[in-house]
Every structure is written in structure tokens, then in C-alpha cells.
Amino acid sequence: MDADTAAISITGLKVLRGKNLVLPGLDLLVPRGEVVGLLGPSGCGKSTLMRAIVGTQIISGGDVKVLGDTAGSPALRRRVGYMSQEAGIYDDLPVAANLNYFAKILGAPPAQVAAVIERTGLGSVARSMAADLSGGQRSRLSLAIALLGSPELLVLDEPTVGLDPVLRVALWELFAELAAEGVALLVSSHVMDEATRCDRLILMREGEIVAQETPGSLLERTGTDNAEDAFLALIRAAQEPGTDTPHVPKHRAGSEEA
């Protein structure tokens, strides 16, 4: 994968918020047609990174290329779907009216509204006011809006937060389906056990990328059996200078290593 064929290619991204360097110089390549998970604790810079990719974040340095164009350029506005952590929906409009409006702004065919309602399972509440939706339904409406216009890249900030396990599984299946259709997906989460659902993982901590690889190779390299432990192992390795391979965490002694 090189910078030209990648969905997202970032070099030296710096973001300053107040006097804090939220992203101190970040490099990243995200391929097309994969579900890429962006994992890390709250406040590690996931949302800032995503806003920089969408082009709504003021950046103080570096280069962010998305689908071959500079992030935030007018041509990209119909090729990138974005779902932020705020729902970004009109509470005083019905679900279908919300979607109709955004479809018109994107110039998407009206039939697509019914299609995204179906895909996100909002059929039973299509006529309800957005204000009357549950938290999970709100985030699915937000996702449905992001799907309008058949974007080539979807940037989804915590799309599964607050959903019940059944719905969560359904959404991850939808993401895999979209990836199979050729869409690139960057999905953030602070829930580590969602890691195994991704084709590729990016682990972030304090504005830096700790690791970027497939779930399988991450677990193998760190000798762990889940993303949480792998994350811990990587952080410990980084804190011990002079070691190349991370240590295996000992708090599961006697199980797998035996």
C-alpha cells in the first residue's frame, strides 16, 4: 500500500488545542476496502484525528490526503461520509425528513433514503420525531445520514456506543458488508473487545499511534489473546527502553502460556 492508493494518508499531522498539542506529529496510512478500527482510551485524540480527516479540524501542521485529495477539499465533500459523536440530527424533524434534507444537500437520489432506513433498521420509527428516538436509534439515524450519497470513505466516531449487543453485532456486519462493496471504513471505539471485528487496528494513546496492524498479528506479536492485553503490553514495551519485543503481561499466568 502506498500513499497514492490509500484511502487516507497522513504525514506529520499536528493539532494544537489551546496550548495542548493534541496530535504531536502523526503518520498514518489507511487502505481502501477494509474496516479499520481506531481504538484508544477517551481523550487520546481519536475524534480530533477523525475531524482532521473529514476536514473540519483546524490543523497546525502536516499533510492529510484523503482519496488522493487534500482533506476538506470541495471535491471530497460528497465522497466522504462522516458521523460525529454529537448526533448531528434535527430533533424537531421526523426521521425521514432528516434524511430527505441531507439527501437533497448531497444530491442523492430520493430512493436512497428508503435504502439507508432499511439498512440501519429504522423502518419502524421512520415517521417518529428524532427527539423521541432512543439513544441507539439516534446514533443509527446519524449513521444513516452518513451513508447517504454512497460515500467511498466512511469516518464513524463511536457508532456503536450505547447499543445493545445484538444491534452492535448487526452494525459490525453492516460495516463488513460495506467494506466488501469497496468502501473504506475508519471506525473509532473505546471498547477494546470490538477490535476483533476489524480487518485492521490502529491503537492510539496520548495523540500517538502505538500500533497499526491486523488483529491476528497484533495478538501474535504481543502473545496475548485480546486487544486490551495487547494494548497494555505495547504500552509497557514502550516504557522500557532497549527492548524490541514487548513483554507478555503476567496477570493471566497459567492459562494460555502453559
Binding site: T56, Q57, I58, Y82, I89, Y90, Y101, I105
Partner: protein, 244 residues
Amino acid sequence: MSLARVLATTARVLNQVRHDHRTLGLLLLVPALLVGLVAWIFTDTPVFGRIGPAMIALFPFIVMFLVTSIATLRERRSGTLERLLSLPLGKADFILGYALAFGLLAIVQTGIAVGFAVWVCGLEVSGSLGLLFAVAIVDALLGTSLGLLASAFARSEFQVVQFMPAFVFPQILLGGIFLPRDQLPQVLEKIGDWLPLSHAIDALNAVARNDQDAGYIWLRIGFIAAWILAAIVVGSMTLRRRTP
């Protein structure tokens, strides 16, 4: 800029107001009721005849300023503005869509206020009623466009609310309602002469007394229209796609 996106935004804003019956009622009736209150206060005195036209300039202007700036503020807080600005929606599409939606509401609102003042409260209008409507509507559009400018310029909710006294009160104080502008200290008189609300008040007074020709009125309408245009242009320039 795209007409389809402007109109889609206008339709969406009107649709939101339509779903909120109480807001719609308040929006359409409050200025008329305030004018009625002023008329009631000054029953059996000639005062309402003197300040009535200025009240028609004042109340729709303030109400439209508030409603418009709060509406765009809500877009900011709910995340819909950030979403819209990441989509192929021009900043001018957004501002014009709002201006058109609230402009239409302003026309209905002002129509009710003027009708109430003239036919219920007995405000005497010697000049053309058509011109009175025209000035009052341009004045309400001025409130809308300045509200849009204030909220495009503001970076936080607190700032938007502070812009109300900052943008509106000086115009009321220097507009000639409290003291005729030619009796103000010279510097204040000059400033007042450049503020748009002053011209709305002048024009409405002139129509009510019928002591000026139509050219005088249209010149003032033109002056206010220039302010509206400038506020919309500056508003769409100060709206930022990228935020900290």
C-alpha cells in the same frame, strides 16, 4: 452557490418551525401583541400616534434577530452545522436558506403586526399602507440578517446572547425613539445616521405622517437593503468550515 440547496435549507427550516406550534404562535403574534400593549398604555393620549410607527420597526426587528441567531446557534450545538459544512453545502447556501425561511416568516409576522396596529389599535397612517408594509418587512429582514451575522461571527453560545445587546440596543438608543436624532450630541447623531434601524424608523414615521415623497421612503429602503446584503455576505464569509 446552488439554488436547489438554498431552497432545500429553506424548506427544512420552515418544516422545523411548523412542527413546533408554540414557537410558530409566539413568532407570529408576539410583535402584534406588544404593539397592542403600547397602544393600550397610551390610551387617550396622542403618544401612540407618535411612537406607534417606531414600535412597528422595533418589535419585529428584535424578535427576528433573536429567533434567527438562536436557530443557527442550535445548528452549532447539535452538531448539524459541522455535518453540513462537511457536505457539499456552500456557506452562502446555508445563510441564504435561513434568510429566505425567516424572511418569509418575517413577512407574515410583520403583516400581522401592521394590520393589528392599524385596524385594531387605530394607528393613523396618512401615507400609503403598501409602503408601510414594505418598510416594516425590510426592517424585519434586517433583524434576520443581523441575527445570522451575529451567530456566524460568534464562537460560543454566550457570545451569541451578548451580541443581542451589542447589535440591537445601540440602534434603538440612537434611532431617535427616545430623543429625536437631531437633538443628540453631534457624534452620536452622525453614528445614528449610519445605523439601519434609524432609517426604518424615519421611513415608518414619514409614511404615517405622509410628510415626505415616495423617493424619500425608497431611499431608506435601499439603505436598509444594503445593510441586509452586507450582513449576509459578511455572515457567509465569517462562517468557518474548520473549527478548533
